[in-house]
Amino acid sequence: MTSATINGIAVEVPEGTTILEAARSLQIEIPTLCKHPDLDPTAACGLCIVKAKGINRMLRACCTPLEKDMQITTHDPELVEVRRSVVELILSKHPNQCLTCGRNRNCELQTLASDFGIRQVEFADIVPDYDLYDDTSVLTIDPRKCIGCGRCVEVCQNIQNVHALCFLNRGYDTRIAAAGVNLGESPCVKCGQCSAHCPTGAIVELDETAIVWDYLKDSSLLTTVQIAPAVRVAIGEAFGLPPGTNVTGKLYAALRRMGFDRVFDTNFGADVTILEEGSEFIERFLHRKGELPLITSCCPAWVDFMEKFYGDMIDHFSTTKSPHEIVGVLAKTYYAKREGLDPARMRVVSIMPCTAKKWEIKRGASMSASGYQDVDVSLTTRELARMIKQAGIDFRNLPDEPCDRILGEYSGAGTIFGATGGVMEAALRTAQDLLTGQSLDKIDFEAMRGMKGVKEGTVVIAGKEVRVAVAHGLSHVESVLRRVQEAKEKGEDPPYHFIEVMACPGGCVGGGGQLYGVTDEVRRARARGLYSEDEAMTLRKSHENPEVKRLYAEFLEKPLGQKSHSLLHTQYQARLTYAR
């Protein structure tokens, strides 16, 4: 332990604690702009400066460990003046466009400018005229709004190991960009983690809410909507509810009030995914039909990553589509048929924690298995939150409403899809029953839960050892893949039989399209929200979902059957990209 004083208050913290953390433990808020709790400090902004007695220069609180007997001052008129000048300097090279900015009222720079009461920027206006990048159809990068904090680069290069983004040039001409090309030609996998970590509006998702309003305006269309598991435990934050609050019922109500004709739930699709994927697993594991390990594929950023960088491992991918694509195709086939609707006049809108889903819905021909594009628009949690506000809905006080049938009922297994390890846990619940032909009581697989980057375990089912792994955050994923490749090269048994992968740290609860301000604490709270819903349910296994059973009985016949194959499965192809 290290003891010191901050603003005259004694503090004792573990060795290595930064001045920033130590100050927070004393309820002292030091302003920061470049530091993000997920990331190593870049020390770029210079706002977190503090004074230490006996040291002439000012120290950066975000990255300086508190040392024994330090006497720290965090706030005095000089510190405030220097900090204000730094904010002013940043504003001198920043376009004054808050009103039309994706981060208006939700921007760390704007908040600082407001807190420091900056009324005028005394320095010259040096806003450059860099071009916008928006060619991924997913993200828009406005390098003029970039304050050079380096968070996106840190995420993209070190957490995701994609290396799409980097800084080009130097000095005041330093800018954020892909490697000399547009983002669309880069290895970017559209995970959106850069946008989720950017403190400003420099990287935002493409806003497609207008398209959805157009659907809703058009009375000749039947517009359906579905919400992903991870959305229900995050969107409440936009309305002042604590992270992890499960607002499923309110969401259904809000969507209905906004004018959606049918409100479905992606969780239903998740249960279907498990049946298909679980069956794939059994085929491969028991009947040796296909490569092991089987790797999940419901995360489109991960699909993109695999296609780009591990084209030789495509055979390991589950061909089952992601849950919202399954709901999309079933809406335009199964549901349309039952209700006598013309799929050409139907629209499917997905509300996702995800930016990559915007790309997934147009990934290839199999995304139009119904004969029409199965999902028409995919909005992020953030986009929906804005729409709810536009619609004038007092979200917090809405009554709970139920989902529409027959693409709405779901099991606890379906809901935990939204957290890392959830897909694996759901799959194991189903796989063990299918393998043993019994209904087993073992429901919880705790080893799959939590924020550890790679989680491993061995499950004994019907006397057979099933080795599984769960990885989230693409650099963790790669470490798992490498183990698989190494075993393959050496001709050894695969280290795992089944692997769950999510591109975003924490899984979809920490998705790139979720509400801003995510930290591990928030991820955990959101995941807890999902797990408690699961625990409270009696229906906790995908294959026991009555609507799913009905789907197979009335329409699909059996998992991996011919109809499933044409509607619920997809193909992958290696995509060449430049080295990263």
Binding site: A44, G46, I49, P65, L89, F123, G150, G171, Y172
Partner: protein, 547 residues
């Protein structure tokens, strides 16, 4: 060649000494400046002439003598005539000197350099009586491409003593006794840095020689690298030995192709001779050194940026702590010293720390090399004991300003330093005194300005430099530097009001306090020091400045 041992080193030295004593020679300075001034043509002409006439004289290509203003330089030493240094030698004059001095034994009085006396190390020519040459002991005295030349002039004797007598702890003790402080600018005690590295846990450690020399207008390190590469290599080896490193890197700026060549060549020779590599001089000390190049970024002189650059990344600094001694190159404990720092080590080991500490002042020991340039009559490299006054350097040694002008100021410390006005030139040079004047010692750039030079221009020049060289990582420097530059332009154009000076001071404080690395923290110094000593120049262009 016999296996290198302590005895073999001494044998080569003796052999070389005898050979030198017997040889008549013509030395021509072929460092970058000499070449730029036309030395290659002189070498060619003289060599041809010597060969044609079959003269018993050896033509040697040597390093920088430090008298840059008089390049090309040629020194002649033949039996029966006094050793003479000639300046501004062209092909024709060179041939004339060969004819008269070499052949006829009569030095050409009219062409000899005036005021060149032998000082310090007895055979070093120098343009003044105040110089003591430790760092530059061999520059201009030997052919830097021949390791035997260097050994003949005591190269690797310090290493020998370190290995045979002192041991690592003894080396550090000797360093402590010498009082040597880093010559790269900050002046941190070298022995202490070595001690930290030695005590750092782990077996994989790195030593780096900072040869980035980014200060525009300074070339002390180039002079040593080109003129006496083995001095730096020896220093590096001793440092590696004392701290437990088996790998070292030279980080040399790419703008110095000749220096790179010389170091690479010297490393090859040292390796071949068994002074580098496995079991150096028969001991169990193993060490190898490699060259890595810069690529045009001043900020890479900063330690953490430099390490990023060696790792093949953008040269952006990172916060310290952790310090390089804890977490350096590839995360391993590392020490970085400047070229000049290393060049001092050999003599300190060979002659003892106390000998070295005998020069200089109480807190600033030894000598310091300065590159004196600008509006000075005799620009060049000068090595003086600390405590010498600025005036002695600029006026006594370098002849004051040229033409009919008067000295206005001297700038030290480059973009991180400040101007010192003429009335303060009697200040003795030391780390502390220069800092007290609002400048810094820096690495040794000393730019002389006369009264025709505008101080606002100078401030503008340096801030322009910092704008171009800022790495762009941290907001205070990336944007503050640019705004400072724009504000100075506004001032120079006569469009500023006095309140802009207030804004300027606020900017300076912000950069000093909130910038991440030394570049941004010190970038305001040229502005602040010109404001401090030459405020009237600012007042003159600002309408409505208060009296």
């Amino acid at each position: 060649m016999a296996k290198m041992t302590f005895e073999e080193l001494d044998r080569v030295r003796e052999e070389q000494r005898e050979r030198t004593a017997k040889t008549s020679w013509i030395r021509i300075g072929t460092s970058t400046c000499g070449v730029a001034a036309g030395a290659e043509a002189v070498v060619r002409a003289v060599s041809d002439e010597v060969r044609r006439r079959d003269l018993p004289v050896e033509v040697q290509r040597v390093g920088c003598l430090g008298l840059c203003y008089a390049e090309p330089l040629m020194e002649v030493n033949v039996a029966g005539a006094p050793r003479t240094l000639y300046g501004e030698v062209g092909v024709e004059t060179a041939l004339r000197i060969v004819e008269e001095h070499v052949v006829n034994g009569r030095p050409v009085a009219g062409l000899a350099m005036p005021g060149v006396e032998s000082l310090g190390v007895p055979d070093v020519p120098s343009n003044g009586t105040k110089q003591v040459r430790i760092v530059l002991r061999n520059c201009g005295m030997l052919d830097p491409t021949k390791i035997e030349d260097a050994i003949g002039r005591d190269a690797y004797q310090g290493l020998k003593r370190a290995l045979s007598e002192l041991g690592p702890e003894g080396v550090i003790a000797e360093m402590k006794a010498s009082g040597l402080r880093g010559r790269g600018g900050a002046g941190y005690p070298t022995w202490l840095k070595w001690k930290f590295l030695r005590e750092a846990p782990g077996t994989e450690k790195y030593m780096i020689c900072n040869a980035d020399e980014g200060d525009p207008g300074a070339y002390m390190d180039r002079g040593v690298l080109e003129g006496d590469p083995h001095a730096v290599i020896e220093g590096m080896l001793i440092a590696c030995f004392a701290t437990g490193c088996s790998t070292g890197y030279f980080y040399i700026r790419a703008e110095y192709p000749l220096a790179i060549d010389r170091i690479e060549g010297a490393l090859r020779q040292a390796r071949r001779m068994g002074l580098l590599g496995k079991n150096i001089m028969g001991t169990d000390f193993c060490c190898d050194l490699e060259v890595r190049l810069g690529a045009g970024a001043f900020v890479c002189g900063e330690e953490t940026a430099l390490m990023h650059s060696i790792e093949g990344r953008r040269g952006t600094p990172r916060p310290r702590p952790p310090f390089p001694a804890q977490h350096g190159l590839w995360g391993k404990p590392t020490n970085i010293n400047n070229v000049e720092t290393f060049a001092n080590i050999g003599p300190i080991m060979a002659r003892g720390g106390a000998w070295f500490g005998g020069y200089g002042t109480e807190t600033s020991r030894g000598t310091k090399v300065f590159a004196v340039t600008g509006k000075v009559r005799h620009s060049g490299l000068v090595e003086i004991p600390m405590g010498t006054t600025l005036r002695e350097v600029v006026v006594d040694i370098c002849g004051g300003v040229a033409g009919n002008h008067r000295i206005k100021a001297v700038q030290t410390g480059g973009p991180s330093g400040g101007v010192i006005p003429a009335p303060l030139l009697d200040t003795p040079i030391s780390y502390e005194t220069l800092q007290a004047l609002g400048s810094i010692m820096g690495s040794g750039g000393m730019i002389v300005m006369d009264e025709t030079d505008s101080m606002i221009d100078i401030a503008l020049f340096y801030t322009g430099f910092c704008v171009e060289e800022s790495c762009g990582k941290c907001a205070p420097c990336r944007l503050g530097g640019k705004q400072m530059h724009l504000l100075l332009e506004k001032i120079r154009s006569g469009k500023a009001s006095w309140s802009d000076i207030g804004t300027m001071r606020r900017l300076c404080t912000t950069m000093q306090k909130a910038s991440l690395c030394g570049l941004g923290q010190t970038a305001p110094n040229p502005v602040l020091s010109t404001l401090r000593y030459f405020e009237d120049e600012y007042r003159a262009v600002i309408v409505g400045a208060p009296a």
